[in-house]
């Protein structure tokens, strides 16, 4: 999800982040959320995607304080399934739970387009890392051997000014032969969503 909406966090409950990967088939979400429901869990947010026949999903779920990671793992392992679930669970620190994960003011969208070759994602993500830019979200498509990346970036802790960053992106664009452009997140929101904010 490139534009995030603040998800509700129930402060008195324990929050877990659950990641599941499996070969794709109908019923995976029903199975996993069924196991969560049996333990009284409340799904706050869920994001899933399918790539090359494999499904991966990440869920944000709150439980009553007595439910443990082991209870949840056991509940999921009792699901009768032809495809094996690879599950990873993290309990959130209560302090972290208070933070509303809405995009900050300095959120930008970076688009990268060019002929497909190895190292594009690595090169762009390394560029971001070198400038202390966090990648919120990333989507890629490959069509007619043209590779396209769209990244949602957090520039809050970026160690260079916007003007310098734009210049460096332009240099990187020339050097790599990729078309790279960065625009403020608000532009994409206002041109693609009906709600004015």
């Amino acid at each position: 999800m490139l534009i995030q909406s603040p998800s509700g966090v129930k402060s008195m409950r324990k929050q877990m982040i659950i990641s599941v990967m499996s070969k794709d088939r109908p019923g995976i979400i029903a199975d996993i959320t069924g196991a969560i429901y049996q333990l009284g869990g409340d799904v706050a947010d869920l994001n899933q995607t399918v790539l090359c026949g494999y499904l991966t999903m990440i869920l944000s779920v709150s439980f009553t304080p007595e439910v443990t990671k082991e209870d949840l793992l056991a509940s999921i392992s009792h699901i009768k399934t032809s495809s094996r679930f690879e599950v990873s669970i993290k309990e959130l620190d209560p302090k972290q739970q208070d933070k509303v994960p809405g995009p900050p003011e300095e959120t930008y969208i970076l688009t990268v387009q060019g002929p497909n070759k190895t190292g594009i994602v690595h090169g762009v993500s390394l560029f971001c890392y070198n400038h202390n830019i966090n990648i919120f979200d990333l989507a890629t498509t490959l069509r007619n051997d043209q590779y396209t990346m769209a990244l949602q970036l957090d520039l809050k802790h970026c160690n260079t000014s916007l003007a310098t960053l734009q210049q460096e992106l332009e240099d990187y664009s020339k050097q790599s032969g990729l078309t790279i452009l960065m625009q403020h997140n608000d532009i994409f929101q206002v041109t693609n969503e009906v709600t004015l904010h």
């Binding site: 688009t111 989507a139 916007l162 960065m182 625009q183 608000d186 532009i187 929101q189 206002v190 693609n192």
Partner: protein, 460 residues
């Protein structure tokens, strides 16, 4: 959730199709700047403008950088100066014009509008002194633009003022003969002039407005032209694309363009702590190739601008732009319609040179769009009464149809039809438009008085 294709469509619009915000215009009230004498008044005016607009250009530039969308023009509109300088005389008004010019230079804006009067029903002594000052005021200043409202749907047309306009325009052009009559390009005559239009030369800060307000003019003929071309390319088989689908594309593209304008305008407004006024939805061309309203005519199916069908195309374009823009913005105002300023639009100017676009067709087209006979270079030999009569026709269109119309005619000294003139920059260039029936309207202009306001029912 935004999809990659939506993201890429927006990127295309901004980076490859020259999307920009055409103008952010700060309206400033000067009504309480009238001092005991002209010097005190000028001092107050200068202080007021610098106080409000000191950070204006820097803020626009910083928002422009943040969002990656250029703000082409930063402008100021002030309360019509004939109100501000009530009781002053011709030479005093020239002093005010010089002060406005200095203030505009000091805060770094491109143009300042509002050297104006509103005389649709009658003229005070101040108005007469003010109108007499216009040729010298505009010849002595660089950034000041002037406008006179001589008619409204409610009050009719002030024919005495109209007759004066012909002479004012001639004198403006002659005083700036070394610049091709450029003075006349900074002067526009209106019917139903809005008080919140951000575009020049007709921007004023209406007396109905608050102390300061920010209005935004979006651009986008280039963006719309490219969107239409893409849609047409996707439907190569004859009959697979119809006019309503093209209108829909214009509407949706305008929505996006308007949203960007409003985003930047509101960001500047928040940053300066000045109220946001309106987005003006006018489709404003520039002389840059690929940023032409004229080009859209050809894309939509006439091989020459001015050919039969041109008025119908413009009607649809204008309507689609409004429909998309009105939904996109919280507050719409100003002129809000497609502009056809001949000199500022390379394709329209070319059509004048080719002889496909004549004054009469241009006039017909202004019935369905804003703003009127705009930036039309005419032979310098055309007499004042003929100019006044051309303006009278345009004013009548606005008065009867309850819409804004305007005339910005430039009688280029020493040039005749077939010659050409260039002002450079956003003012553009054009061949001189031939004028027919010169010198045949003097008896009509000589009547003076008022053309009565029209009836508001039986609208056929």
């Amino acid at each position: 959730m935004l999809r990659s294709d939506q993201i890429l469509a927006t990127v295309e619009m901004i980076q490859k199709e020259n999307l920009d915000v055409r103008t952010v215009t700060m309206g400033i009230n000067l009504l309480d700047c009238r001092g005991g004498d002209i010097e005190e008044t000028c001092q107050k005016i200068h202080t007021r403008i610098v106080d409000y607009a000191g950070e204006f250009v820097a803020t626009c530039d910083s928002m422009s950088k943040k969002y990656g969308i250029p703000v082409v023009n930063k402008r100021i509109a002030v309360t019509p100066i004939a109100f501000v300088g009530a009781g002053f005389f011709r030479d005093d008004f020239v002093r005010i014009a010089q002060t406005l010019d200095q203030a505009a230079t000091d805060v770094g804006v491109d143009i300042l509008g509002g050297y104006s009067a509103q005389v649709e029903k009658g003229m005070t002594n101040t108005d007469l002194e003010f109108i007499a000052s216009i040729p010298e005021a505009l010849a002595q200043t660089e950034k000041v633009c002037s406008s006179i409202n001589i008619g409204t749907t409610q009050k009719g047309i002030n024919m005495d003022a109209l007759a004066m306009m012909g002479h004012t325009i001639k004198e403006l052009a002659e005083r700036t003969a070394d610049q091709g009559g450029f003075g006349a390009a900074k002067f526009v005559v209106f019917c139903n002039q809005p008080g919140d239009n951000p575009f020049m030369a007709g921007a004023i800060h209406g007396v109905e407005e608050a102390d300061a307000v920010l209005n935004v003019g979006v651009s986008g003929p280039g963006v719309i032209a490219r969107a239409l071309e893409r849609l047409i390319q996707k439907h190569p088989e004859p009959g697979s694309l119809q006019l309503d689908e093209l209108a829909e594309e214009i509407k949706q593209t305008t929505f996006r363009v308007t949203r960007c304008g409003e985003l930047i305008g509101r960001a500047v407004s928040r940053s300066l702590g000045i109220e946001f006024g309106v987005v003006d939805l006018s489709l404003a061309p520039t002389p840059t190739i690929g940023d032409s309203v004229g080009e859209i005519f050809k894309i939509l199916g006439v091989d020459a601008i001015g050919a039969p069908g041109s008025t119908a195309i413009l009607a649809m374009l204008n309507d689609a732009v409004k429909k998309g823009g009105i939904f996109a913005s919280k507050t719409v105002g100003g002129l809000s319609g497609a502009f056809i300023p001949v000199m500022e639009d390379a394709m329209l100017a070319e059509a004048v040179g080719d002889g496909t676009l004549c004054l009469e067709k241009l006039e017909a087209m202004t019935c369905v769009c804003s703003v009127g006979l705009d930036m039309v270079a005419i032979p310098g030999s055309v007499d004042a009464d003929t100019i006044a009569a051309i303006i009278a026709d345009e004013m009548a269109l606005g008065m009867i149809n309850s819409k804004t119309t305007a005339a910005r005619l430039i009688p280029v000294p020493g040039k005749e039809a077939g010659d050409s003139v260039s002002f450079g920059g956003l003012f553009g260039a054009s061949p001189i438009m031939p004028i027919r029936n010169i010198g045949k309207s003097s008896r009509f202009i000589a009547w003076g008085g008022r053309m009565p306001a029209p009836i508001h029912s039986f609208k056929n």
